[in-house]
């Protein structure tokens, strides 16, 4: 490697090197299959993500009977649409109303409904969210741009066992007559965790 003018090519992090070391040793010893690693990475990068949860929410918005089934038995209701919770063994859906706002967290680690929302975003796993969501959720939401009414109750769900949760955000006003597919576009990951509302439709 040339070192002209004191410039050093960027070195890989220790974590990247350690991962290569582990992968190479475990592949050599027959414990890992490289294509299976590729498969999982691709599944999470391309196939499994919040668009799944958005479909469930949009269906709940247009079909009151489905919403009821979702609230009574989330695991069975998402299976109707071909989804699994990913992690955990029971899937529980909680709905936002004008007087109740829900927020999901895992204070102890990072439990998350990965089958519906994909892998959790970094902020969900970071210490600030894990520590503050259960003690000062209103302030956390305000900092993220969501100002709850003082009269609204806030319910925080700490995933301490094998249940996994998802929030049905309120359906935005001005969405009457929209197709289910278009409604799903308004449902963000942040809204299904509870740190945001669903997006308002574009004003034409």
């Amino acid at each position: 490697m040339s070192m002209s003018g004191g410039h050093h090519p960027e070195q890989e992090s220790f974590a990247a090197l350690r991962t290569k070391a582990l992968e190479s040793l475990l592949v050599e010893k027959g414990l890992l299959a490289s294509d299976a690693i590729d498969t999982l990475v691709q599944a999470y990068e391309q196939d499994i993500g919040p668009r799944n949860g958005a479909k469930v929410v949009a269906r709940a918005w247009v079909d009151p009977a489905y919403r009821q089934r979702l609230l009574e038995n989330g695991t069975a209701a998402i299976a109707e649409l071909g989804f699994v919770s990913g992690q955990g063994s029971e899937f529980v859906v909680v709905q936002n109303t004008p007087t109740i706002h829900n927020l999901i967290v895992c204070t102890l680690c990072s439990c998350y409904p990965s089958g519906l929302l994909g892998l959790p975003p970094k902020w969900y796993k970071d210490f600030a969210y894990r520590s503050r969501a259960v003690i000062e959720p209103r302030q956390v939401l305000r900092e993220l741009g969501l100002d709850l009414d003082d009269t609204a109750e806030i319910q925080v769900w700490d995933s301490t066992a094998e249940l996994r949760y998802m929030v049905i955000p309120e359906r935005p006003i001005g969405t009457e007559g929209m197709t289910e597919e278009d409604l799903a576009q308004l449902v963000t990951r942040d809204a299904m965790i509870g740190v945001a509302n669903a997006t308002a439709p574009a004003i034409v």
């Binding site: 290569k20 029971e90 102890l108 970071d126 520590s131 900092e143």
Partner: protein, 226 residues
Amino acid sequence: MNGVHDLGGMHGFGKVHIEKDEPVFHEEWEGRILAMSRQLGIALGPLPPGAARFIIESMYPTRYLTASYYERLGIEVVEKRALANGIITKEELDQRTEFFREHPASSVPRREDLATVEGILAGLRTQRHPSPEGPAPRFRLGDPVLARNLNWSGHSRLPRYIRGKRGSIARVNGWYAIEDGHADELGPNPQTVYTVGFAGPEVWGPNTDPKLRVYLEMWEGYLDAI
């Protein structure tokens, strides 16, 4: 265990930063180590319930607090499992790490196995369920309960912030294998897990938002009747 991972209610970590359009993996190694930890669960068999989390929780506190998520969940667990099972030695691992540092253009060897690929895909499509049977639940919807004050050093899913607090049963869930390191002292296994609701001021004190309610999932053995 009363570790630094038990973060509920702690102060000092600053603001929550949401990265716009964040990538699924920020670095390539993150996705690969996640996939490797899943595969090890198949190749070596699953760890007992809670054991993988306990490996992470047992990192020395300053290591836990300064390591990134995939360093904790991925590298720590894969490394510890591989070493504990005698698959690799620390010397081998350190030498190989050094090799890749000195030879950045070297590629990782490949081995392909369709059966493993199919196993991974099947796993992604599988819905797990609670245990099919267990003892009659001790508590019913609405019952007042007290979170026990247990401070054992093994793995626990009873956060410090809830111990000794009074709540009420909000949902009676299924039966689950106990994940606590002290399973033997928590009653029948598997046992009912309850969703328990606690009023904010009960958990955090008198100046707390009275409109806050915190719900946790709790194994029956974590609860006392009141």
